[in-house]
Symmetry: C2
Subunit: 142 residues, 2 copies
């Protein structure tokens, strides 16, 4: 029995805000459906060249109760990135809280506008420790 991974779906409260967030991470839109009858939009965003590893955003035009929530049963989406310091700086410059700064040059956590936890991991070896990251405290949880 053959099986192939396709995507992870998350529901979003504010589609533009979420698209902007995933764009900051470096994802690009690969597909969008706007369904007038069902009154919802689906937006697929992937790392460039990784079309079958999308995060699918479901946006219900008439709102969605329980968003943003913070349940425990869903963990996170993980992405490996070229330079974790540069990306975290880019996110901070755009108002994103770095919940778990990359003190070790290797791992960081941030949250999407709907509290979806996002893990960032450095490609290859960890970067040498550097400020402001090395002495930055955690903020909240992830």
């Amino acid at each position: 029995m053959k099986i192939e991974y396709l995507h992870t779906m998350v529901r979003v409260k504010d589609l533009e805000k979420s698209q902007a967030f995933y764009e900051l991470l470096g994802l690009v839109q690969t597909r969008r459906t706007d369904n007038d009858k069902g009154r919802f939009s689906l937006v697929f965003m992937s790392p460039p060249g990784q079309d079958n590893a999308a995060v699918e955003m479901t946006y219900n035009w008439d709102g969605d109760e329980g968003l943003p929530s913070d349940s425990r049963h869903f963990g996170h989406l993980a992405y490996r990135v070229e330079n974790i310091y540069d990306l975290c700086q880019h996110l901070m410059d755009n108002g994103i809280t770095i919940n778990r700064p990359p003190r070790d040059g290797n791992m960081a956590f941030v949250r999407s506008p709907d509290n979806v936890s996002i893990e960032l991991l450095q490609m290859g070896d960890p970067l040498p420790p550097a400020e402001p990251w090395a002495s930055m405290e955690n903020t909240g949880h992830w």
Copy 2:
């Protein structure tokens, strides 16, 4: 800035039960870490040949509050499968509820032991309608 998808993480209440569930889907374990100090285990399971599209299970040995929960902000994991009828039959035979049966020969939804919603999609064209699926009602939501 290069970015690469790695995995989706979900927390599980009963590791063996969850491993058995993902095995029923056809996933295979690619990595396991048991951390005595942190008292947790991490188990990565992927479709065969798709090591970088894993579901990572986090199992906290001393339990995890709020599991299984049923929040809205996380949507589902999606997998494309070779024969959606055969897989749904296999799942049913092993006691899994088919929340949204593949009436259309194309799409079904089930739930993991922790209420993580799993979407199954038929490879290629939808299968011709067939019983017992065509007349099977939905059970709960997903």
